[in-house]
Symmetry: C2
Subunit: 295 residues, 2 copies
Amino acid sequence: MSNQICVVTIVGSTHPNELIGYHLVKKFEQFPELLQRDSFKCETVLANIKGIGTGLRYLDRDLNRCFGNEDLANLKLTSYEDIRAKQLNTLLGPKDRPKSDFIIDLHSSTANMALSILPTTKHPFNLKLAAYLTTLHPAVRVLLGVDCTQNAPRLRSLTPLGCAIEVGPIANNVLNADLFMQTEMIVHSILNYIDAENKGKSLPVPSTLTAYQSLFSIDYPRDSSNEIQAMIHPQLQGQDYEPLYKGDPIFLTFSGEKIDYESESTVYPAFVNEAAYYSQGVAMTLTQKEEIEIW
Amino acid sequence: MSNQICVVTIVGSTHPNELIGYHLVKKFEQFPELLQRDSFKCETVLANIKGIGTGLRYLDRDLNRCFGNEDLANLKLTSYEDIRAKQLNTLLGPKDRPKSDFIIDLHSSTANMALSILPTTKHPFNLKLAAYLTTLHPAVRVLLGVDCTQNAPRLRSLTPLGCAIEVGPIANNVLNADLFMQTEMIVHSILNYIDAENKGKSLPVPSTLTAYQSLFSIDYPRDSSNEIQAMIHPQLQGQDYEPLYKGDPIFLTFSGEKIDYESESTVYPAFVNEAAYYSQGVAMTLTQKEEIEIW
């Protein structure tokens, strides 16, 4: 990549049941002038086209797990999402020489993710941008460490600059006007920031970034047939990014017993009670809060 | 029906993506003593068995629309849900001489339905029970008029006594511990009420019932290709059962224009922003608030 960002891509419907991204892309397609900036071209893509309108996260396979190098090179993978990933790789990639310089992948979550920015990599450009975004709205959070290096399976791994935006809480297959408008605000702010950088007129960025670094995920308690045996405890429900201390309740079994967090180390959960993660063995992701020097 | 209620049926997974009902039925199956009352037998049923674990509302057809008399009698209808409806009709019905005397059908909604009781019919028994339940928790609401007379297509129409319970807001395919516990509390209270009635020791019921009578539904604004053009306005989101006056905003278009409620008559919306109703042309159901004399 040159120092100049020439092409920015806004992606919606990577998960077709997350409606904000779809309708925001449709809005931008209807009013393309909203995306016009002097110093780069901005385009939109609907990723899982065939899934749109089905109410599903995916048809055959989660599209946002189809971008690993081996899978992209494996012509025997012929599910709809595998084929679509190869198309998107041609359109936006390939990873070693991407046509898109910056990908914004629009997502939503049933968890209280507020306005989460997930930088694709820890490239200084991404971190500075994230730090800038934290100054714009008190609900902006920066979540690091969902691994999007070159061999990551996520769509946004096609190019090192960019981010996913995860807003919530919102049910799948519904819209929420506040979260829609806030997502649009974040997108416009990213475009403005890139435009300013391109022009050598950097916008003011704080010297430290407060970020949440993913550590590991924990699953629901399950029985021998893999059925969950507990729910997120009411005291933890909706408390994404809040500190979790030893002794705090995390689960409540169906028979009413609480299960506590037992480690000495204070952590900050994210993706608490995300619908798509029940089947993946993830009740929440634990993170640590970090202050990162930007300069 | 005799004056005595002999068999009560608790139904979960009529919509398999509404997890509270499923896990509550599983809990009752694990601890059947929870359902034991002196004066009647209480059984549980998982309705859309094949849909459980799919994350879907239904496989071929909404099971809760398969119980119309013509459909039940039509042997040419061979979708999974049509077949399952006939099985449930055999198990709990038929409508003119049902084996179950009282059906509790457990549902949840992405709308802020709080703890909504939807009596199957306006039979005095149902209304008295609903009035009793309103005294137990401030979040209990009574929604009337989803038509469940003899030819209604809902599962609960198999027997005139009973109700659906619609709790929310909750995303599909997740649990919420508070709503789970509140749903269980409502179920236990219904069983206790029936037991007391059976024994001739009626529990105290208020003399008037505050209920919300369904009037009609309104759809999202749509374009010529049936795409929605607006979202629920932030001022209306989550305001189920609150009064809507002339001039109050109800929708916000994607380009930011608000659309107001224009009728003179004050109404009380319910099912505002329910995920399953987007495809059915329903943004919300408008109701009127009524005070019903119970005695």
